[in-house]
Symmetry: C2
Subunit: 199 residues, 2 copies
């Protein structure tokens, strides 16, 4: 009963992260029932995404012609401090704080096994090459901005071993009670971390 | 820090039902980081949606050239029994049961106020015209397949008043304990309905 274009659209969109098969069908109908201008906007915005590239240095997204993202091209950013993040959106969150003036490596979602995928190995190799070229062989600091979960700890340990010779210092983001949070509702792990890291 | 195409894509997609602004940004990055073929598939599937139309009879979606959907064109469907649904996806759910061989009217989401929007008034007018033409002025039955909520009851009452002269019988979907559900966990309203409608 579903027209083929609805089925096809739903099949494609259900592959996207966070979109379930039911939502994909609902979206398809919504779009057909909306004004054609919305479909046009979507079509245009998808076409424009096609023009974006991945930075050859840090693997963040950019639209520049020299292969480098806005951060890697920025001479005011400190090349000696590198934050390793999993997702591009993690990078955006850190940028919003305006407290970090170093550079990045976007590594992609790390597996729970502590083993890197081939693409991630390539990115690590690019980081090492970049440290050799731009940081004189050893960066001042590598911040492992990986989520503070059990798997994150595992992966951070793996990355530290892997990158050992390439930085003088390794750090992770501070742990504690989030601003606005309440002690009463903090879990034990968090509260232990907050105590240990009291300032 | 977000390249413009990411911003634009996120702004467009955040307008879609069930897609939040954060998810829209995540989607944008996911797409850029995926293989180009995925962007191509999305682009194609959106383009194909553009070819779909809304049935002039029941307002369901179709890709036919005569302005009628597959259900309205089907001579085996009984034109005397019409199910009024809010969403095209409600129609699909009813079709999946294979227990209904009548026709439909897709009315669009009804407001909680019991007042119809201009587009919905047009669709009601189309239904009346269709009943006059295809059902000899009065359909055998109109099934108000509207959700069994307080607002749904309000809207069903409004629709019954509105369509009074156009059908011999009005009905709504049966209420009770869903198959597989447990009496212990059924709310009072549902259990009352199940008792009243015991068979």
């Amino acid at each position: 009963m579903q027209p083929d274009p609805i089925k096809k659209f739903a099949a494609v969109f259900a592959k996207l992260p966070g979109v379930g098969p039911r939502q994909a069908v609902r979206l398809a109908f919504h779009l057909v029932e909306s004004e054609q201008s919305l479909l046009g906007e979507i079509s245009d915005s998808v076409a424009e995404l096609m023009g974006l590239k991945i930075c050859r240095n840090c693997f963040f997204v950019h639209g520049n012609s020299d292969g480098l993202c806005d951060i890697c091209r920025d001479p005011k950013r400190n090349p000696q401090i590198i934050a390793v993040v999993e997702k591009a959106t993690d990078l955006l969150s850190l940028e919003k704080t305006k407290k970090f003036s170093g550079r990045y490596l976007v590594l992609g979602d790390l597996k729970k096994t502590g083993v890197m995928e081939p693409e991630q190995k390539l990115r690590m190799a690019a980081l090492k090459k970049y440290i050799e070229k731009d940081c004189g062989g050893q960066a001042e600091e590598i911040i492992l901005a990986i989520n503070p979960t059990a798997y994150g700890d595992l992966n951070a340990a793996m990355l530290t071993t892997e990158l050992k010779p390439f930085a003088k210092k390794f750090s992770r983001l501070g742990r504690g009670i989030p601003t606005g949070g309440e002690i009463e509702f903090a879990d034990e792990e968090t509260l232990s971390s907050a105590l240990e890291r009291r300032t």
